[in-house]
Amino acid sequence: MGRYLLRRLLHTVLAMLGVSIGVFLIMHLVPGDPIRLALGTRFDPEVYQALRSRAGLDRPLLAQYGTWLSHAVTGDFGVSFRSGQPVGELLWQRLGPTATLAGAALLVALSIALPVGILSAVWSGSVIDRIATALSQLWVSVPDFWSGIMYILLFALVLGWLPASGYVSPLDDPVQALRHLVLPALTVGLISGSILTRFVRSAVLEALNQDYTRTARAKGLSRWQTVRRHVLPNAWIPIVTVAGLQLGFLLGGVVVVEVIFEWPGLGRLAYDAVIRRDYSLLQGAVLVIATVFLTINLFVDILCGYLDPRVRRP
């Protein structure tokens, strides 16, 4: 297990390095830069060159990347080109809200996907299976910007049960924090849950059709005993893998939901950084998102190794 862990860690570090180089190159190769953007239409070539050189943007790309990397490994991500605020601080402020939303959404997703997915696989072809399949199909197809706004209109405006938007830290006011969390968590959780349900169903269904399941049934185990002892242990690996990927997506890829619910998440920060060509902020944001994503993957790999010892072999 130790060597397996070490190998996975090494892969993670290499992947992070690759991601940071990729983002750096792409951002510097696309047209437009933060200085040009800050000057806007009031463009003066002399001022532009002076500001570029002050920001160090006229240095060779390799030197710029080297400087960034040497600072980044010490935890110093520099200051945002746009706002002048420390990037590390900006990212840290977004981590809490992002983790809260992602965690709550995954909870919603799993509490739907596990029971519904297993039931619809075990009773495959039944009315329950058909309804579950139809509903999950529907939820996957509904865009989040539409369902989010519908929840706001229904639960905030018509019924008045929940606040329409905003973020409250659980440390400040747990009750208000929960009330603000419900709608965004439902919006992404239901979509994520629909995707996961389909994976759970097919993973369980596949295990149900294996020879060992038939053998277990032939030996006289009941349907649910078979599911518990033989089917689920074999279905866990694809389910955990997909759930891990979903969590990674929830941490950085729910920009639209963050906008609708005025949620101060990482995805929106990274999106704004791209639009504003805020190189330092984007580099930091992508590195954090990639780190979290790769850590989840690492965790998933370890979990899979634990669930199925065969995975650990080289």
């Binding site: 239409t41 463009f43 001022v47 706004i149 405006l157 609708i260």
Partner: protein, 520 residues
């Protein structure tokens, strides 16, 4: 102009008649400038409380000297002061300066500063603060508005409460330059050191800066030591709500008191809604298209005139802003002191075709460059494209993010583009840099010796009416030559709860909250 009575004006003509009427009163009172603001129930009671304001986007920086983004100024309008500030009619009134004199040679302006003003950190305000602030504001390596001070050679302290601006040429619009908006705010020198201005704000205004949570909100608190009247609420929270449906839902549920995030298509419905007050006013902004004079056939005036005759500005304004914009043909809209009453371009496809034939142009395809930074220009361009097609001009619409757009504009890689200039407080802002052959922002490459002469003359006139006439004469020429084809001027729109009193709608779009109260 305001719609708080619940009655809906029946169209543009009534709105403009009213605007014109109020402007006449304002002009008679001040002898300068135009426009007006709406003051609703300004003297009703109110007692403290937290005012929650939803704005559609987040400041790019807290540093007012560096920022170019309007949300920065929306918020910090309430924290900082300038030497003078725009009055409701856009003339300039005392703020940190109580009065000022101009020397006989017009090259020295002396400002007397207000006594007994203290910074939010408790220190007394004085001339050193003004000098230090202008040293930074005029440094083009740091500040975004240094270009406004080309004619200022020095800002010096005379005594603790007097400063002088030394000029190298008469600058009649100096007041607009020093006080047009908070990009020229007076800041404490102790914050200029380090990154104090980027991470916090210490001003002399009606509210003190409390906190900024990026992605979430900015909190301000009442400044009990404020030198002017107000403020009447204890705290203000500016929340960043980009999605208009979310902003309006929050307004209706009472979680937000006031918002500027009102989508134009909702204005009609909101006007009929007794739960929401709506204020709206023509802004100082204009949007236009222009073409690349370095490229054929756009260097041909007949071709540009043909493109201008081909479009129906009424339909373009409608596409861009529903009923919340006015079609225009010059930079300063009707109702402004600087307005030019000249509109030679009716929608005339036949004349457009004739002009193209005269120029010997057929089968023209225009590369029309747009940016999704301003989505209404994309809607406007779709109408432009279809109307150009009607006269046989094909269009390739190219939509870029703003960073790429600016890059392409800088390289001259376009046939035509659509863009706007915001908050034009003075004829100088609207015309000189954009249309003078040596103008810094004359990107299109327009050159007309007569226009240059008129613009140069206007620059050094001290009498506003004479200046206006020079700008108007220049405007007629450049409109005829289609240096810019002016298209529309949007309205400034605010929506608020009926319990909120004293809201002012300004043509510059700023939310000044010192007079706002939350009533029962």
């Amino acid at each position: 102009m305001n719609r708080t009575d619940g009655a809906r004006p029946r169209g543009r003509s009534r709105r403009w008649r009213l605007a014109a009427l109020i402007s006449v009163v304002a002009l008679a009172a001040t002898g300068c400038s135009g426009g007006e603001s709406v003051d609703v129930d300004g003297d009703s009671g109110g007692s403290g409380g937290t005012l929650v304001v939803a704005i559609s986007s987040e400041p790019d920086s807290l540093d007012v000297h560096v920022s170019t983004a309007s949300p920065t100024f929306l918020v910090l309008e309430n924290v900082y002061d300038t030497l003078v500030e725009p009055a409701a009619d856009l003339s300039f009134q005392p703020a940190l300066a109580t009065d000022w004199q101009i020397s006989e040679d017009l090259l020295t302006w002396t400002f007397h500063l207000r006594k007994d003003v203290t910074w939010h950190n408790g220190r007394a305000f004085g001339a050193d603060d003004v000098v230090a602030s202008f040293q930074r504001i005029m440094d083009s390596d740091v500040a975004a508005n240094a270009w406004r001070f080309e004619s200022v050679t020095e800002v010096r302290k005379v005594d603790d409460l007097t400063v002088e601006f030394a000029l190298n040429r008469p600058t009649p619009n100096l007041l607009a330059n020093v006080g047009g908006f908070k990009g020229m705010a007076i800041v404490p020198p102790e914050l200029i050191e380090g990154d104090g201005l980027a991470t916090g704000a210490v001003g002399t205004g009606p509210f003190t800066f409390v906190s900024y949570t990026p992605g979430d909100k900015i909190v301000l608190a009442a400044n009990p030591e404020y030198w002017g009247e107000g403020p009447f609420v204890d705290r203000v929270e500016f929340r960043f709500i980009a999605e208009p449906t979310t902003a309006l839902t929050n307004l209706r549920t009472g979680d937000v008191h006031l918002t500027n995030n009102v989508p134009p298509q909702q204005i009609d419905a909101l006007s009929d809604d007794s739960d929401v007050e709506l204020g709206r006013l023509a802004s100082n902004d204009y949007w236009y298209f222009t073409c690349n004079f370095d490229r054929e056939p756009f260097n041909n005036t007949d071709v540009r005139r043909a493109l201008s005759f081909a479009v129906d500005r009424e339909q373009i304004a409608q596409a861009a802003y529903f009923d919340a914009a006015t079609p225009v043909q010059s930079a300063m809209g009707p109702g402004s002191f600087w307005a030019t009453d000249y509109a030679p371009f009716s929608h005339d496809p036949q004349q457009s075709r004739d002009l193209l034939a005269k120029a010997g142009v057929s089968g023209l395809t225009v590369d029309l460059m747009l940016t999704n930074e301003f989505p209404h220009t994309i809607q406007a361009a779709e109408v432009i494209a279809s109307q150009w097609k009607d006269v046989g001009v094909g269009v390739n619409i190219r939509t870029l993010d703003f960073a790429s757009w600016l890059d392409e504009q800088g390289k001259g890689n376009y046939d035509c583009y659509v863009l706007g200039w915001l908050n034009n407080l003075d004829g100088e802002y609207a015309y000189h840099a954009q249309h003078h052959s040596g103008g810094a922002y004359n990107f299109q490459g327009y050159a007309n010796a007569e226009v240059d002469r008129l613009l140069d003359e206007a620059r050094v006139q001290t009498d506003d009416t004479t200046r206006r006439d020079r700008y108007a004469a220049a405007a007629r020429l450049l409109i005829d030559d289609v240096s810019y084809a002016y298209l529309y001027t949007p309205d400034t729109v605010l929506a608020w709860l009926p319990t909120v009193k004293g809201v002012e709608v300004h043509p510059d779009g700023k939310t000044r909250l010192r007079g706002v109260r939350i009533g029962g």
